[in-house]
Symmetry: C2
Subunit: 223 residues, 2 copies
């Protein structure tokens, strides 16, 4: 048991080092030996957990899929808003999530399959859009698979713009503006009127999602 | 005159080489000597045109602002749609525009000021939103400066998602879907009904914008 805990800690240290090096040097230029030095682990330990640089990048990419469970809501559209807001909060506060998002958006990382995260982000949104449609929350013309991709794709750009212009200081404001522009084309007016979209929603949702987690699991790596 | 033409050609060759190397290696890892080799010019020629790697990157970034003039339309919202569609066409077909967009989206290019292009993209959109507002095309609650940033930011993400998933093969479809999701929150229904938004709009607008240009200026660098 203690050994397993140690293995988890080592794996986490390696991933954190990889995230740091990918962020500093870009995926293309990063080397495994730099990651080894930063992580302070042996080569054997690293290769026990990860086979290659690509494997490390995939590890960073999937580390953002932390198992934060949001409670079910009567409105599935509210659940989508909350997923977006939770991700926004984590992007602001968690260095590992930031590294994963940057890797995903690195259009110069040739040979790295960046399609995974886009698909992973779209899935929970699509699932809830389908439920929302079934219970009559959506406008009649909405095609959930198209709308899920529009939400995920546009969010990806909004966060990138916020990073370039203000290093994420205006992220919540920009994300809220995006949702106010998208949702009226997706959701019935009556649903729209009762959505909680305010700027404090990101913090509120994060608190709710982590209320039952032990302290040290709340944030992967503080940014 | 011949000398000036030669200088323009040299500058263009250097920028093309820089775009290629930034794309292959990422901004961080790219070196000026690689750019020199690819461009096949002397060090003196390069430093005559560009002072530094950052200067080269800014050159690539601004080369996308090619002076393609679209005719004025009665609807300023249609002009916004056409700017977006023209950029979409160029992104699909012009390697230099692609390189500029990738540099802009490279969240790992530390030290490179990537805010310029976001601002440059937002400006023509903002200008037309303000005119559209003045002539009554917009919904009453719209704040042009906010909406311009939502359009530009979300477009940036949609193109990135299209590149990651299909190497831009579905770009026009995704951009059209984005506009169909955004415009109903921005534009009066009567304006919406007469907008030309179809998937052939990108090609049509590009043809119109380049009809009066000499052949060799039509596309900076074919991709």
């Amino acid at each position: 048991m203690a050994e397993q805990a140690r293995a988890i800690r080592t794996r986490r240290a390696i991933l954190f080092a990889a995230a740091k090096i990918f962020e500093e040097r870009g995926y293309q230029a990063a080397t495994i030996s730099e990651i080894l030095t930063t992580a302070g682990v042996t080569k054997g330990a690293l290769y026990f957990h990860f086979q290659s640089k690509d494997d490390l990048a995939q590890g960073v990419l999937s580390s953002q899929d932390q198992n934060l469970v949001l409670p079910e809501r009567p409105s599935k559209v509210q659940e989508i808003v909350d997923i977006v807001m939770l991700h926004t909060y984590r992007l602001e506060t968690d260095a590992m999530v930031r590294a994963a998002v940057r890797l995903t958006m690195d259009q110069q990382a040739q040979g790295l399959d960046r399609s995974g995260p886009f698909r992973t982000w779209a899935m929970p949104v699509l699932e809830r859009l389908e439920k929302a449609q079934a219970q009559g929350e959506l406008l009649p013309h909405v095609v959930p698979v198209e709308t899920a991709d529009v939400i995920v794709g546009s969010y990806a750009g909004i966060q990138s713009m916020s990073q370039a212009l203000t290093d994420y200081r205006d992220l919540v404001t920009r994300v809220t503006a995006l949702l106010r522009h998208l949702l009226p084309s997706i959701v019935m007016p009556s649903v729209l009127a009762s959505l909680q979209l305010g700027e404090t929603r990101a913090t509120d949702v994060y608190r709710e999602a982590t209320a039952n987690l032990p302290e040290d699991e709340r944030i992967g790596v503080r940014g």
